[in-house]
Structures are given as C-alpha cells and as structure tokens.
Symmetry: C2
C-alpha cells in the first residue's frame, strides 16, 4: 500500500504539465547547473522517422526515442510590419530568436524585435553576465541564423560579414540592407564582427569566408580582430584538439557551411517523376517512370571535417572547467534543414545521425554531472515527407505520382523509402509550420510541460540556470 500511495503522490508531482511547471521556483542548486540545448534545424517528426527507418530500421529506436520526456513545441512568428499579426510558418532566424531570447519576432531577424528593431537579450548574454561559460557549436557557418541568434543582434540574417551590410544583393535579386547597424553609425557591425567581439568561450562551426573580410573602419580582418579579442583560431581538426585551454576558442572548419556527412549515390538529388506522353493529356491515362532507387554513401567532400560529436565533446570539455558556475551550450545540426531544402534525403539522414551522436556525448556528460539539463528540439518543420513508395491506390492501376520531387532511398533493411519534396518547384523547398518535438533528459521531467510555445524553452533554460 505504501508504494501505491507514493506512486500516486509521484504521479501528481510528475504531471505538473501546464504553465504551472514553468512557474515553479527552483531552489538554489547545490552544484553548478548546465544546460545543453541541441537543435536539429528543420528536424520535425517526418525527418526523425525517415532517419530512424534508415539508421535503425522500421522497428528500431534511436537515442531520441529513449529520452525521459517528450513534449511538443508551438513555433511562433509575427509580421514585421504589424507584430500583432501572426505568421504561421517560421524561418530559422526568428525561431532561433525565440529559443535564444524568449521573444517572438519576424522572419529573418537575429535577436532583434519585429518592426522596432530593438536588441533582445539572449541567454548567452545572461549566462556570461552571471559568470557562466557559454558556447555555440554548429555544422553551418557560425554566422548563420541559428548560431548567431544566440550572440548577435541585427535586423537581417544575411548581414553575415562587413561586405554584406550596405547595398548588398543576393543572387542579383534580393536586396540586403543593415546600414543602421554599421559601426560608423554606432551599431555593432556585421554578424562575424559581433561574434569576433563577443565574450563567448567557444564558437565552433564553418564560415571562414565571413571572417577573412576586412573589418569595418579597420585595416584588420575580422579574424585578426577575433584574435585581438583573445580567441584562439582553429581551422583544422588537429588545431581543434590542441587549442590552448586558457584562450577563447573560435573554430572555423570550412569557408561556408560544413559539408554533409552522407550523400546520395552519384551526388544525385531527388528527381521529378517522368510521366508518359499520354499522361500529359489526362492525369488518369498513361504511365509514369519513377526515379531510380539509390543508396546513400559517405560524402567524399566530408574529408577530415570535425564531426558534430567531436566539436560537442571539445566544447563541453572546455566549458565544464567552470567549476562553481556551470555553462550554457547550444549545439546545432544545421544541415538537416539545408539538405531538406535541397532535396537531399541522404544528407538529411546523415546530419540527423550526427545530431544523435552529439546527443550521446551530451547524455554521457549529464550522467556524470547530474545538474545538467539536456534538451533537444527543432526550430521549425521542413518540406520532406515520408511518402508511400507503392501508392495506396496501386490496385487501381493508375499513374499516381508526386507532382514534386521524390528521393527513393534503399534502406539497410533492403526496402525502398520514398521521400517527397513538393512545396515549390524552385531552387529550395519551403519550411512548414508544424509543431516540432522537444525531448528532455530526466532533469526536464516536471520542468517542461507536455506542450509549450517555443519562447518558453528560453524560460525553462534560464530558470534552470537561475538567470532570471
């Protein structure tokens, strides 16, 4: 009977699943607390299911599936002209701003407010003020939207280096203008300049091309400015390992984003089904030729790029030296999203695998350091859909095929898995507005509700670290 009573008491406690959980004050921790936030960019449930089928089989499990707690996250975006008006689909800039600052903003903004362009305080700002260590690790350029939103503040995500600030144009079509943020006007400068000037302890990713540019109003490059600000620069896996412990660490392992680990055989992408002439006349006539089934293979371009798990291990090792204060670390597997935009199913799978490996590193640390909250989430949904390879309507003997692009991947269990990309026909697929998953280790139980708005993840983390 006692155990029954205890159990029912426990259920009551464990089920604090509403906003009351967020409001519950944590008492001062006995030993320093750490937060490791792992973000799978674009990693919605389709992405996870696609990767699981490939990596562990249709009945298999990956480490995300074994996490102690699972929740769902409502992604919020507002219109830049009228912030009272919701937009139902986010980009990585505004969703990373939600995670980093607890505030809802408009697409393309890096920790600045919609319409009014006010700088928003980030969890890294708060952590450093409170004497904690802080680090950012990503497989994208470190100046890309997700990583930079935790440190920088600027009106447009494209302003990644000093040359992109005024009169810049992307692909001759998209005008970029961050002229109000230039140093000459008292602004903080471009994203790479803000990172170089920051007091973040560890910054690891790609994006060397944004640091070799000449800094505004200086004869030095942004990289030289970073060195002047106490950063050791690592541009290889070797230098990453041998970086001196007493310096801040800026690791830049590619000119732009890091290469993806896995590629579609023959460097192919998803392809459009090829209908017969008769099918052009009427959609119920004729036949269709589907793209070949293709295997995934290691991406030759990956070479000796540091893996996400290696960067994560180095970051945790350096940040956890802070014995009395703890740390905040954000780790992003960025190219789950980038591969999905460009219809590379194997790229998505390989980068989700990198995320699970980084999660293993984080969970191992958390097991030995009990006051460590590990959260894994996505910033927004992506276009990729796990679709039937054999239509539900096959018995009707009709030419049923996707109007978009289809990747037909042979999984290790010997079955063809079809991934559909059909949100537009241009160079990149769209994001989607679906709720995204949130996973927590046992430290999250009772602290994270079963469903929450994305900015509340900031509140969960800052409350855990006693930063508010």
């Amino acid at each position: 009977m006692k155990s029954t009573i205890l159990k029912s008491l426990c259920l009551s406690l464990a089920m604090i699943s509403s906003s009351a959980a967020l409001a519950a004050a944590d008492t001062e921790p006995a030993s320093p607390r750490n937060v490791i936030l792992i973000v799978g960019d674009g990693m919605d449930d389709h992405q996870i299911t696609i990767a699981r089928n490939y990596l562990a089989g249709s009945r298999g499990k990956i480490n995300l599936d074994e996490m102690a707690f699972r929740s769902s996250v409502q992604v919020l975006t507002v219109d830049d002209k009228d912030p009272s008006k919701p937009i139902y689909v986010a980009d990585s800039a505004n969703s990373a701003t939600s995670l980093a600052t607890g505030e809802v903003t408009s697409r393309g903004r890096i920790s600045t407010s919609a319409k009014y362009d006010k700088d928003l305080v980030t969890i890294v700002d708060l952590a450093k003020q409170a004497g904690l260590k802080a680090g950012i690790v990503t497989t994208s350029s470190i100046t890309d939207a997700t990583p930079s939103s935790f440190v920088a503040h600027i009106s447009q995500r494209e302003c990644e280096n000093p040359d992109m600030m005024v009169d810049a144009v992307i692909y001759q079509r998209k005008p970029v203008d961050c002229s109000q943020d230039v140093k000459a006007k008292g602004g903080p400068g471009s994203i790479s300049e803000q990172l170089a000037a920051s007091n973040v302890d560890v910054l690891l990713g790609g994006g060397m091309e944004h640091f070799t540019k000449q800094a505004e109003g200086s004869s030095k490059s942004v990289l030289e400015q970073a060195e002047g600000n106490g950063f050791y620069i690592a541009d290889s896996a070797e230098k990453l390992k041998s970086a001196p412990a007493e310096k801040k660490l800026l690791g830049l392992f590619a000119e732009g984003n890091l290469p993806e680990r896995m590629a579609y055989e023959g460097e192919r992408e998803a392809e459009q089904p090829n209908p017969s002439m008769l099918n052009y006349l009427h959609k119920y006539l004729g036949s269709v030729e589907m793209p070949d089934t293709v295997k995934c293979e290691p991406n030759a371009a990956f070479g000796d790029t540091p893996e996400l798990k290696e960067m994560t291990a180095v970051a945790i090792d350096r940040l956890s030296g802070n014995k009395d204060k703890g740390f905040f670390l954000m780790v992003e597997s960025a190219s789950i999203d980038k591969a999905s935009h460009q219809r590379r199913a194997c790229g998505q799978i390989g980068e989700l695998q990198q995320l699970t490996e980084a999660l293993d590193v984080a969970l191992n640390f958390a097991e030995k350091n009990e006051n460590t909250l590990v959260l894994v989430t996505a910033d927004h949904g992506q276009a990729a859909q796990l679709m039937p390879d054999t239509s539900l309507f096959e018995a009707f003997n009709l030419p049923a095929y996707s109007p978009g692009f289809v990747a037909r991947v042979e999984t290790p269990e010997g079955v063809t898995m079809a991934v559909n990309y059909a949100t537009n026909g241009l160079f990149a697929e769209e994001h989607t507005g679906v709720n995204v998953p949130l996973f927590a280790n046992k430290e999250g139980v009772g602290r994270v509700p079963t469903m929450l708005a994305q900015p509340d993840i900031f509140n969960v983390m800052t409350r855990y670290l006693n930063l508010n």
Copy 2:
C-alpha cells in the same frame, strides 16, 4: 529537504519510459477499470497544428495540448507476400489492426495476419470474454477499416457487405475478393454481417447501406439479422437518445460516412495555383495566381447528424452501467483523414474539433471515475502540410508555388493559413509514414513510454484492463 527527496524519488518512478513500463505488472484494481481509446484518423502533428491555429489561434491551446502525457508512435506495416519485409507507410486497416490486436499486418487487412490470413484476437474479443462491456463509435461507416478492425476479421477492408464478397469491383478498376470468408465456405461473412452477429454492446456511426443488403444465405437483411441478435437499431439522433437500456445498440446515422461538420465556403476544395504562360516556359519566369482565400462555414449537409461528442456520451453512459467489470470504448473521428485525402482543409479542422469535444466528454467521465485510462492517438500520417502562405523566398520576387493543391483558409485571427496537398494529382492524396502522437491522461503516466511501436498500445490497454 523532504519534498526534494520525494520529488527525486517521484521523478525516478515517473520516468519509467522504456519497455520496462510496459512490463510493470499492475496489481488488481480496487474498482473496475475502463479504457477509452480515441483515434483521430490521419491526425498527425500537421493536422493538429492546422486545427489549433484555426480553433484557438497560433498562441492558443486545445485540450490535446493539456493532456498529462505525450508520446510518439511508430506505425508498422509489412508486405503481404513477405511479412518479414517492412512497408514504411500504412493504411487505416493495418494500423487499426495494430491497435486492436497488437499484431503488425499488411495494408487492407482487417484483423487478419499478413500472408497467412489468420484471424487475430482483438481487444474487444478479450474484453467481452472477460465480461467487460465494449463499444465502437465513429464518424465513418461503422464497417470502415478503423472501427471494423476492433470487431471483424477479414482479408480485405472493401468487403463491407454481402454484395462485396465475390467478384466485386470498385470504380471498374479495383478487384475485390473475400470469397474465402463467405459463410457458404464456413467463413464469418462480410464486415456488416460480422458486426450484426457480434456481442459488442454499442456500435455507432454511419453505413446503413451496408446493413440493408440481403444477408448471405438468408432471406433477411443484415439489419434484420442484427435485430434478431438483440440490437436496437437507431437511425436518428432522437432514437439514439431514447434507445432502451437493456438492448445492445446499433446506431446508423447515414447511408455511408457521416457528413463533415465544417466545409470550405462555396463547397470548394483546395485548388492548383495558376501560373502565367511565361512560367510554363521556365519556372523562374512569369508569375502565378494563387487560389482565393476562403472562409470555413458550417456544412449544410451536416443537418441533425449526431455529433461525435453526443455519440461518445451515449456510449459511455451505456457501457459504464457495468459496475463490477469496466469497459473498453474506441471512439474515432474518421474524416480528419477523409477530408485530407480530398483536400478539404475546413473538413479536417471541423472533424478534429469533433475529436476534441469527444475527448472532453471522455476526460469528464475519467475525472469522476478514476480508474479510466484515456488515450488519444492517430493511426497514420496524412498528406496535408501547413505551408507558408508567403514564400520564404518572397524577397527574391520569384513565382514560388506548390506543384500540388493549396487551400488558403482565413482563420478567425484574420490571417491566411496555407495548407498544401502534394503527394499525387489523382482523386485522393496519399497517407504518410510519419510517427504519430499519443496523448494520455494521468492514468497513462508511468504506463506509456515516451515512444512506442503502434502494436504496443494494445499491450498498454490490455494490461491496464487485466486482459492478458
């Protein structure tokens, strides 16, 4: 300090999140236990987010969001010719069979095994054998795949009535053959005949057309056979309310599926974007005209059809009379799926709203009857995607549009929500293979892992009811 210790003990208990949770033996309950399983057909996270945006606003919550526990379900399907081979996308027949029997089967099968066509024991079979009451409520025809899988056993879901058993053809294209299951060969007959012959206490939904057919080897209709087997037949909302308590209840409120509550203004469906002539020449040229933004409105055809919440209330009322034994009830909102197949975003939203109302009825009952496990899940994913109404690439001023069909719905918060349907161009969209959500009330905490395979839901339910 005491509360801290209690809390940490409790966390350990509450976090039994692996298969160990499934194995934990429940002791004999003090009062009868009940299970209410609510199935949203095709209700993946896209569907929930789309409905929430409409029903509660982008920052709002619906009752699913406030459930005590949230988990994720791996949907499993196998090839009928080679059951060792997985198929990555299910249909409602094989996924309902997983829920009803704990076994994985192939598409189209109603609680029979892949390849070998063996009858599989359902939770309703077990419940009735153990003296519990049992009921099935749906907005589809009661003979449709999901409801029938809990009671009937047949090789093909299309064999809904005696006329569909031998030499039947659907739309002149799809041959249907359940000749091995005809009564003349010692089989149990068609689905409607099996339901009519069953000992299920409550069967509510549509599908009168499958019961007015002449039963095999009899001068009677299937409906007359049902009456002969002790069923009171209700064919109106009034008769549903006044049904005599001592009889079994068969409610059939439409010839086929029940009408959907909500419709797209002007009975429209999603439409294909209309590109300019120039855009036909090259996808980066020209412009595109998107479908109009349309409001949702009550569906005039709904009339005085009983709502899902009414049917659920009647079912619970009749089943809960079983004071010493408890009950099993399956409630399905079926047309979330059917509306999504046919690109009716408003239909999806209205039927998901019906599910939330039925859930309210179930939760109210569970609050007063503590030994009641309420589970809500979906059987499989659907094509509908919440897509940006304004492309992420709008600043590039390119004709970005879906290659499929788009519904542009004006939400009550005055914003256009775009829903994309792009898995094929034929009469119906495909399902998807994404993991689906599972929600539980507090009785599910510690009994449901954070991720499980769909057949394990059967195990959770039968263990809770001490049926195994």
